[in-house]
Amino acid sequence: MAKRQKNRLAEGGCIDRSKPLAFEFNGRKLQGFAGDTIASALLANGISTVSRSFKYHRPRGVFSAGVEESGGLLTVTSGNGDIPIVRSTLTALAEGKIIRSQNCFPSVNFDLGRSLDFSHRLWSTGFYNKTFKWPHWRWYEATIRRLAGLGKLASGEDNTGYFHHNLHCDVLIVGAGPAGLAAALSAANSGARVVLAEQEHEVGGSLLRQAAEIDGLEPDPWIAATLATLRQSGNVTVMTSSTVCGYYDHNVLTIADRSDAGVKRFWKVRTKQVVLATGAIEQPLVFCNNDRPGIMLAASAMAYVHRYGVRPCASMLVATNNDSAYAAAFSLHDHGVQIPAIVDVRENIAPALVQQADQRGIPIMPGSVIIDTAGFRRLSKARIGRLSKDAQTVLPASRWIRCSGIAMSGGFNPTLHLYSQAGGKLHYNVQLACFLTATCAQQVLVAGAANGRFLLPDALAESVQAGAQAAGNAGFECRPVAISTSVAGSYALQANRISPAGDTHRQWVDWLHDVTVADIEQAAQENFVSVEHMKRYTSAGMSVDQGKTSNLNALTLLAGLTDKPIEEVGTTTFRPQFMPLPMGVIAGQRRADFYQPARLLPAHDWHLAKDAVFEDYGAWRRPEYYAGNGKDRAEAIRAEVLSVRRNAGLFDGSPLGKIEVKGPDAGDFLNRIYVNNIQTLKTGHIRYGLMLNENGIIIDDGVCARLEDELYLLSTTAANADRIGGWLEEWHQCEWPHLELLISPVTSQWAVITIAGPDSRYILQSIDSDIDFSAESLPHMSLSTGVFAGVDARVQRVSFSGEMSFEISVAAKHGQTVIEHLLASSAHLKPVGIEAILVLRTEKGYLHVGADTDGTSNALDVGFAGIVAKKQTDFVGKRSLLRARDQSAERRQLVGIEAVDKHENLQAGAHFVTTDGAAQRSEGMVTSACYSPTLQRIIGLGMLEKGFARKGETVTVFDAGRTFSARITDPVFYDPAGERLHA
């Protein structure tokens, strides 16, 4: 049975008392109302301690009523697992919510981690950098990782619907407080397409927490009337529960939209103009033990009363350095919260405010600050001291005042995170003691409190103009609306936020990361005096908060410690995201099968039916081996290799990159691209070639076939097909545009079926075809076209296995039929997967670019010196091969390798190490290794220093802590004379 909401007011607020909502907090069954946030419902139920702090595990309560929340970050259980770090102040309460405190064990009211607080002097800034390095960080890491972090991530499948959308508009207005609403009215009135985005679940912003009269209406009816006008205009989209999180180049902004339950939307908005009506965040005061539950920002305390009909505490001391907190004090008082005193750092207070306080019987303590607070678990009293005349010290006399809460105001700081993200610069305004906009290259206007207009009439007056101006900049006629308001107000801030007395180790600056004044002092003492260094060393402003309540005080402190004005200390750069987002929001639907859509072979279904075991190779899903060929993976691969060596194998090579280059200058062009001479290649013939980048490094290899006089077909490695297509285009368009040719990537238009092995010719000859497969007509490295098994086909006699081999290319749609036809024609033909092909090519010593070569391997390192020397004309990378370093005999060169003990498990990635000299040094690596079923031993390829000259030498191989001996051989282990290849 839900308990009575003991701190709920009988009436008032934007909540619906006729719609109770049951929820659970740390196992307690509680009740709130529709319109509540989680935080307001907890306060209504008199819950003061809601979580534990990050480092010292101190009890923390609800601190604010908005995005700047530091205490009320809670774990909410949904059908989809636990979601940590939910901002309870921004999240609407819903029926049946299960909410838990985080960062505490065993419970939020008794947390063993609090021992870290009692021993806090041991854990000052930088403690782990200094302490946990001996003997090694690893000794401590596990324990520290267990203690660190806020909340726990849910494990298991996330069923939330994450969607990405695009939106285009003329004017995007960020924030639907009074400024945003006024700007929207003017922009819409001017005819612009407007998007108005509000992070809270209802619009109104600061109007929801204050008494005012606008156009003769109270705030609530004015908001309702404004929304109706905007809706009627037909060109305004109002988004609530939608936080603008990022501001990127050329006016692209992103919005995290939580407005649909169970669905998270991420909008990418491209807009002509932006109006930032993001308001300002109230800044906390810094005094000893300023983090106890019950201490909150004054405007937030007022919001709980006005907007949610909740008394945050029974009695609240009000502490301020400006006039704005007086409205909070009076409002709290008028709703039954006892105000023991208003503690004001200023000596001179406006008579009107003094009079209103007197009427309510609230004593004002001018020229005073809070020095300390006391209480166990929750606040019980505060100690007040009087400031000296220069406000630099506190006079000795002080007194304790009983209170259960403190509403504090250190003035406001405009929320300019997005402006900073947009590349805007900020400057410090001494009079308002806050940062304001300076310059920004993007199309952005800033209006209202975000622009330092902290009083409602100023904010409204500015915003109606800003909205119209934004529309005007977007090409519409400026038609600002008129808004009248009768509210008078004053601000009169005195820039003292930091109490000059008390233990600085207990004066919180960053509530979220438990950074205190002492930490900032220590950073300055250790010469971390640049604001960016101080931030990273102390971690002030680095947590979920992102500086919203900590930045200004930390900068003020640093300025004082380094004797510089704040404007010279500067501020840190804000970066996306404005508010933490679940990774799923950013990923959207690009996960699981949609992360990288698989490319399937034309005959995929056939491979599936043949028990192919698939693996992703780049974007392609290809048969690794066929389960039917052996009892396990190794045996199947072995059987497939032997079938190619003894009879014949069928390999689906469709992903092979295929690019056609056509035109009168095609040969000239390719001659500039390949290391090999293409000009001497005759029609109907094929040549193997290497491609280099300008630095002489191998980027791809493959064969180049001359199909017709002016038509060439290039093969690239499967993974490189797109890249090489782009590479050719870039060289043609940017360097040699005068060459007449066209480049067409045709990879997916063809199915490529390779038949390799001594029986391959005999098998092909048994198929109905007009192609002559004889050795005389179709020798190695030549091609023929004709009809094969009833379809048009091109046959290239090329080999990656070292056996006689035919590549049959047919239109992709015929791939499956031709494969079925071939398999049915011979009992000796086995399907083979890509792993068998890789073993076959290793036996033959054929290069696998990217495996045997890396970003340091040039053409000379793989034995191309003769070809390079012979080629007279220029090609990409040629000049680089002439550098002394590229020609050095000391380089790593391609070699074959076999273990001296043939049972030794040679692995790719093992190092060749020197054995002479004091220190062992790597001389290169084993780049490919496999068991060769043909040779019945383990063989490999590698890149070894001076490798060409070391054939026959025995070297030491280091692998996973062991060393063993291996022999350097020629890379070609199988059929070095090429008799089988040319059969």
Partner: protein, 95 residues
């Protein structure tokens, strides 16, 4: 995210394009000295201000073209075809 006007297709989002580095870098003849060749390979102007660079409309028409972009503000002052000379940008002095 930049919005780039392809000289052939019009205004599109950056996601349709790929960046190709500084433009107007001339490739030395094959007999160039080591210093000249290494300057071509490794050194670029990297200015604060106007940068002349080449982009490809990779997921559009496939054409390469040039852009004059301000590296501070990301403002794009001009787009022009491959082979065209750097445009005059009066009043857009280097920052």
């Amino acid at each position: 995210m930049l919005q780039i006007t392809c000289p052939y297709c019009g205004c599109r989002d950056e996601t349709e394009y790929s960046f190709g580095g500084e433009s107007h870098v001339s490739r030395p003849a094959p007999d160039a000295g080591d210093a000249e060749w290494s300057d071509y390979l490794f050194n670029r102007s990297n200015p604060r201000g106007i940068h002349y660079e080449r982009w490809q409309h990779r997921f559009g028409c496939g054409r390469w073209f040039n852009i004059a972009r301000d590296t501070v503000s990301h403002e794009i002052y001009a787009t022009y075809e491959m082979g065209d000379a750097r445009p005059d940008l009066p009043g857009k002095a280097d920052n």
